[in-house]
Amino acid sequence: MWSQRFHEELPERGAGPEIGDYAGLPVNDAARLRADSWDAAKWTIPERQCEPHPADYAPRGPANLRIGNTVDPISQDVVSWDITVMWSLTHRAIYMDGRPHPSQYAQHSWQGFSTGEWDGDMLKVTTTHLKEAWVRRNGLPRSDRATIVEYWIRNEDYLTLVTIVIDPVYLTEPFVRTSDWVLDPGVQLSPFSCIPAVEIERPRGAVPHHLPGTNTFLTEYATRHGLPQSAARGGAATMYPDYLPELRRDIEALR
């Protein structure tokens, strides 16, 4: 059992990131348009209410972990590392037996299909067959074409996960995040059951979204924090230290 430590994850918790905050993320114009069109009321639609976090975002959610394994009953070789995450009790199997990834016609899932191999003391995991999901909970998408590469690293009682998202549809560069846990044998995972229901009466097939140019919430984040709007729009350039002089110049210009 592993207890989550919120460090860089904290902005993703509670109400989550602010609308229009794409800063420091390697998103492209297609991702920006998806996020600009996103309406938080989406989560009230019955088909959306019980969606769990996907494998690449689950570490940012309430994410105490249970990690076990399945072994071959004869050889005792590890067939899979099995990970259950607290939020939505999502279950992942990371197959270690060399099986291939499924065909292009196989069903995708929230956790995808994962295979692992040891790279020194690190467990390297490659995941495909993911459902479309999100990079952040403010509408920034991650497509179903994405591949995730992870490194699970244990140092005594500390566990670090490096998650690298490679998405040819919505990201221009691999997106790297890390998450941390502490060994905690006393942690329990609570039951988690979600049954969708109609919460707001709407016309059949209604889909909450903003038409281009009509989302008045998009500028609030940059305005509230005294940032230039261009910084809030993100993009790979905003990830690197080279961007700081430009950012400082633009902030000065705002004053």
Partner: protein, 318 residues
């Protein structure tokens, strides 16, 4: 430099994946779905196969070129007679194997003297009556498809049903969607919906007013699927969906597709309301945030998809 290398690797990976995918598309691949239902993918539209102690039910028969391979794949699943073929639309990539698959099957008949099917012992081909209209032609004119491929049993209401292999199969007609003759098949015990081309994971929907299709009908069909489908615990699993093209799905993929069609339609409608011409609407690229998912895999191009919505909403033909 590192960024340039990463971009090059991504580009090479994408090119390799595309080449592998194209090579694999002509291969037939059998995948278990759930319950008694299987999907045979590749070479045309998806084929759905239900097996059991009585017979085999087939939904869609791909292209004529792969009919023998399709029959061989079905035979690996079951040696029982192919009794019914359900056709989701008149499209050639869904009906091309009708004649061969039907003649490889056997229909349980009344006495010859009473059976309205005459001497035809082949598996029945079931479709909405508008599919028969599209595949046949009035006497004295040349039909677009051979008579052996035509539906032998048609319905004209909004639904029909079969009971085969201890399972109820609901046939749901969606008027004016992909075409005017669309049928979806819902296998109730297996909890699988075979949607035909109302839903795809590999392309934008194709709807042509000249074949009786409409964007409103596509959305009606997608919303109908969402009404029938029930997700599993925490939106995982539950009703399985077999699209006309692409991979096995569930309610979430259909909701994603419904959302995409709705949002692009609303954007096009707003541009029409602002007085934009078709060219101006296309230049605005109202589907650009979805093109990376749905364009370039054999369906309509973004330009074609946007034009189809525009013409449909404006009530104009190409």
């Amino acid at each position: 430099m590192i960024r340039a290398r990463v971009s090059l690797v991504l580009a090479l990976n994408a090119a390799l994946a595309a080449a592998t995918s194209m090579a694999a598309e002509d291969e037939l691949e059998v995948l278990p779905v759930q319950g008694n239902v299987y999907m045979i993918a590749g070479a045309g539209g998806n084929t759905t196969v239900q097996i059991g102690p009585e017979a085999v039910v087939v939904v869609d028969t791909k292209t004529a070129a792969v009919a023998d391979r399709l029959i061989a794949a079905i035979r690996k699943l079951s040696s029982k007679p192919i009794r019914h073929i359900v056709v989701t639309s008149a499209d050639a990539d869904h009906t091309g194997g009708n004649e061969r698959v039907s003649s490889a099957g056997t229909y349980v008949r009344l006495l010859d003297t009473f059976d309205p099917r005459g001497a035809n012992k082949n598996a029945s081909i079931i479709a909405h009556v508008n599919v028969l209209q599209r595949m046949s032609a009035p006497s004295g004119t040349k039909a677009p498809t051979p008579a052996g491929a035509w539906p032998s049993d048609t319905y004209f209401t909004n639904d029909w049903a079969l009971f085969v292999n201890d399972e109820a199969i609901e046939l749901v007609h969606i008027p004016a969607a992909h075409t005017d003759g669309d049928t979806m098949a819902f296998f109730r015990r297996s909890d699988v919906i075979s949607t035909g081309d109302i839903f795809s994971t590999t392309g934008y929907p194709r709807f042509d007013p000249e074949h009786g299709g409409s964007v409103a009908g596509i959305l009606d069909g997608l919303n109908r699927i969402l009404e029938i489908a029930i997700p599993g615990e925490n939106q995982t699993g539950g009703t399985a969906i077999i699209p006309g093209h692409g991979r096995i799905s569930d309610e979430t993929e259909v909701a994603n597709y419904r959302d995409m069609v709705t949002i692009v339609r609303d954007r096009v409608a707003a541009l029409i309301k602002a007085g934009k011409t078709l060219e101006q609407v296309q230049s605005a690229r109202p589907s650009s945030d979805y093109d990376g998912i749905y364009a370039g895999l054999g369906g309509p191009t973004p330009t074609e998809f946007v034009a189809a919505i525009y013409r449909d909403l404006k009530g104009t033909k190409q």
